[in-house]
Subunit: 438 residues, 2 copies
C-alpha cells in the first residue's frame, strides 16, 4: 500500500476534549471546537489535526478530501459496559436484577453454546454498535469460549478495538451455564493467549458477579490477573440492594461487596465495575486507591429500578467513570439516548450534567476508564482514528430545535436530549468509514 493509499483527509466541524481532567469544571476549558477543520489519518492513526486553513496545503494532491460541511465530527463513542448475548432481550418485562437474570438472561445465554448462533448475534451486535456510533466497547460474552471467538472475529472484520471476555460463573445459575474454577481459569487463559493484543482486540477476565462465583473461582480469576496484569477485569458491583444483601450473606467475612473482588486481586487500573449505584464510603475509597473504574449505565439502572447513580461523587472521590448502555437491561444501544437518561438521573438528584461533561464521559472519559486514553477519545496526534460524523438535524423536530440554539454547547445538548441512531451519519474505525447511514 502506498503512503497515499493509507491516508484519509476529512474536512468539517470538529469537537473533542483535548485532555483528561480531574474536575467537571475543567472540561469546558479543555473543549476544542474547530468550525472548519481538517483531520488527516495515516494507516489508522491521526497524523494531522487542526484548522483547514492551516492544514490544507499538507494534503497530497492525489488525496481526495471527504467534506462534511453540515455535520459535526466527534470522537467515536465508548461503551464501557454491554452484554452482546443480551442483544435480543432488550425490553424484557417486569423484573429487577436477580429475577431478571433467572427469567430472561440465563435462557438467552444458553443459546450461545451454538457457534452459528453466536456468530450471527455477534455480527448483528457489531453492526448495532457501528450504527449507533460506538467504536469501542467493553463487552460481556457468555460462559462459552465460542461466544468470545464469535465476538472478536466480528470485531476484527471491522478492525474495531473491543475488550471482551468469557463469563466465569460456577454457581447460582443453570448447570449448562456454569464452568468450574479450573475450567474458567484454563478457558480464559487460552482466550487471552488467542486474542489479547491480537489486532486491536483486548481481553477482560469476566466473573459475572460475586454471587455466581465461588471463592475458589474468584481466587483463580485473581491468579489469572496476576499472571496477565495487562488484561482487564470486568464485572458488576452494587447494582441492586437485594444483590448487595446476597453478597453480604455469601461472603460474610468481607467488609463490603467490593472487598470481595479486592481481596482476590481484581481491583486496579484495568478493572471496570458496572453500576456501583449503592456504594459504601469504603468502597468509593477502595476504587480511588486502586484506580479502578465505574461504568455508569443510566437506562439500565432505571429499567431494572436499581437506583440513581451519583455521578457527581466520581469527581469528589476521584474515581474514573465511563458510560455504559448495558444492553440488554439497558434499553438502547445509543449513547445519545443513554446521555438523555444520564441527565435525568442527575436532575433527580439536583445535579446538572452539562453537554460537555456528557461528551467527555462518552469519549475521552470513557477511554480513561478503560485505560485507553493514550490511544482513544480525542483527535490528538498519534491517536487511533475512530470517529463519528453526526447529523444534528436527523428529524424535523431536531431541525426546528437546532435553528433555535445558540452555540455548540446548546446544539450538543439538544442532540443528546433528542438524538438516537438516526443522528449517526457515518462511523469511522481506524480511519476507514465502516458505517454510513442509508
Amino acid at each position: 500500500m502506498s503512503a497515499i493509499a493509507a491516508q484519509r483527509a476529512v474536512r468539517g466541524r470538529f469537537l473533542d476534549i483535548q485532555h483528561t481532567v480531574c474536575q467537571a469544571a475543567e472540561i469546558a476549558q479543555a473543549v476544542r471546537y474547530i468550525e472548519d477543520g481538517l483531520l488527516i489519518t495515516t494507516a489508522g492513526k491521526i497524523t494531522w489535526f487542526g484548522p483547514w486553513q492551516e492544514g490544507q496545503h499538507l494534503i497530497h494532491p492525489e488525496l481526495a478530501v471527504t467534506h462534511y460541511p453540515e455535520q459535526l465530527i466527534v470522537p467515536g463513542f465508548i461503551d464501557t459496559h454491554i452484554h452482546f448475548p443480551q442483544t435480543e432481550i432488550v425490553g424484557a418485562y417486569g423484573e429487577q436484577l436477580l429475577e431478571w437474570l433467572n427469567t430472561y438472561t440465563f435462557p438467552a445465554e444458553l443459546k450461545f453454546k451454538d457457534q452459528a448462533y453466536a456468530d450471527k448475534i455477534a455480527e448483528f451486535f457489531v453492526q448495532e454498535l457501528l450504527k449507533n456510533g460506538t467504536t469501542t466497547a467493553l463487552v460481556f460474552c457468555t460462559v462459552h469460549a465460542t461466544s468470545v471467538d464469535a465476538l472478536f472475529e466480528a470485531a476484527q472484520q471491522h478492525n474495531m478495538r473491543l475488550i471482551a471476555g468469557k463469563v466465569m460463573m460456577d454457581r447460582h445459575a443453570p448447570d449448562a451455564l456454569c464452568d468450574t474454577p479450573e475450567s474458567a481459569y484454563s478457558d480464559s487463559k487460552a482466550l487471552i493467549e488467542k486474542w489479547h493484543g491480537k489486532g486491536r482486540n483486548l481481553y477482560a477476565i469476566t466473573p459475572r458477579f460475586a454471587p455466581t462465583s465461588t471463592a475458589e473461582q474468584l481466587s483463580k480469576a485473581g491468579q489469572l490477573k496476576a499472571e496477565y496484569p495487562e488484561v482487564y477485569v470486568h464485572t458488576h458491583l452494587s447494582e441492586n440492594k437485594n444483590e448487595i444483601a446476597w453478597v453480604k450473606e455469601l461472603f460474610p467475612a468481607h467488609d463490603n461487596y467490593l472487598d470481595v473482588y479486592h481481596h482476590y486481586g481484581l481491583t486496579g487500573q484495568r478493572s471496570i465495575f458496572a453500576h456501583c449505584v449503592h456504594l459504601e464510603e469504603a468502597e468509593w475509597d477502595c476504587l480511588h486507591a486502586t484506580n479502578s473504574a465505574i461504568a455508569f449505565c443510566p437506562t439500565s439502572n432505571l429499567f431494572l429500578g436499581s437506583g440513581l447513580f451519583p455521578l457527581k461523587k466520581t469527581w469528589q472521590k476521584q474515581v474514573k467513570v465511563g458510560l455504559g448502555t448495558d444492553i440488554g437491561a439497558g434499553t438502547s444501544f445509543s449513547q445519545l439516548q443513554t446521555l438523555n437518561e444520564a441527565y435525568k438521573v442527575q436532575q433527580l438528584q439536583g445535579d446538572k450534567l452539562s453537554a460537555f461533561e456528557s461528551l467527555y464521559h462518552a469519549t475521552l472519559g470513557g477511554a480513561k476508564a478503560l485505560d485507553l486514553d493514550d490511544k482513544l477519545g480525542n483527535f490528538n496526534l498519534g491517536k487511533e482514528a475512530d470517529f463519528i460524523v453526526l447529523d444534528l438535524k436527523a428529524t424535523a423536530l431536531q431541525a426546528l430545535r437546532q435553528q433555535q440554539v445558540s452555540g455548540i454547547e446548546q446544539a450538543l445538548f439538544a442532540l443528546m436530549t433528542m438524538g438516537d441512531d438516526r443522528n449517526i451519519h457515518s462511523t469511522y474505525i481506524y480511519g476507514e468509514p465502516v458505517y454510513v447511514k442509508a
Copy 2:
C-alpha cells in the same frame, strides 16, 4: 357523498381495551385482541368491528379494503398534557421548573404574538402529533388569543379532536405575556364561543398555575367555568417542591395547593391537573371527590428533576389519570417513549407497569381522564374512528426482538420499550388516513 364514499374498511390485527376499569388488575380481562379483524367506519364513526370472518360479508362490494397484514392496529394515542408553543425548546439545558420557565419558556412564548409564527408552529405541532400516533391532545397555548386560533385551525384541517385554551397569567411573568383578570375572562369567553364544540374542537380554561394568577384572575376563571360547565379546566399542580412552597407563600389561607383551585371552582369532571408528583393526602382525596384527573408526564418529570409520580396511587385513590408528553419540558412527542420512561419511573418505586396498563393509560384511560371515553379510546361501535397502525419492526433491533417474544403482551412491551415515531406506520383521524410514514 354517497354512503359508500363515507365508508372505510380496514383489515388487520387489532388490539384495544373494551371498557374502563377501576383497578389495574382488571385490565388484562378487558383486553380485546383480534388477530384477523375488520373495522368499518362510516362518516368518521365506527359502525362495525370484529373478526374478519364474521364481518367480511358486510362489506359493500364497491368498497376497497385496506389490509395491514403485518402491523398492529390500536386506538390513537391520547396526550393529556402538552404545550404547543414549547415545540421548539425541547432539550433546553440545566434548570428545574421555576428557573426553566423564566429562562426558556417565557422567551419562547413571547413569539406567539405574531400570528404567522403561531400558524407555522401550530401546523408543525399537529404534524408531530400525527407522526407520533397522537390523535387527541389537551394543549396549552400562550396568553395570546391568536395562538389558540392558530392551533384550532391547524387541527381542524385534519379534523382532529383537540382540547386547548389560552393561557391566563397576570403576574410573575414578563409584562408582554400577562393579561388581566378581566381580559383573561373576556378573551377566553370569546374563544369559547368561537371554538368550543365547533367541529371536533373543545375549549379548556387554562390558568398556567396558581403562582402566575392572582386570586382575582382565578376567581374570574371560576366564573367562566360556572358559566360554561361543559368546557375544560387545564392547569399544573404540585410538580416541583419549590413551586409548592411558593404557592403556600402566595396563598397562605388555603389548606394546600389544590385547595386554591378547588376554592375557585376549578376542580371537577373536566378538570385536568398536570404532574401531581408531590400531592398531600388531602389533595388526593379532593381529586377523587371532585372526579378531577391527573396528567402523568414521565419524561418531563425526569428532565426537570421534578420527582417520581406514584401511578399506583391513582388506582388506590380512584383518581383518573392520563399520560402526557409535556413537550417542551418533556423530551419526546412519542407516547411510546413516554411509556418507556413511565415504566422506569414505576420501577424506581418498586412497582410494575404492565404493557396492557400502559396501553390503557395511552388510550382509553386517557380518554376517561378527558371525559371523552364515550367518544374515544377503543373500537366500540359508535366511537370516533381515530386509530393508528403500528409497525412493530421499525428497526433491525426491534425485528430481532420481536422474533423472540411470545404473545401480544410481550410484543407490546418490547414496542413500548424501544419504540418511537418510526413505529407509527399510519395515523387515521375520523376514519381517514392523515399520516403515512414515508
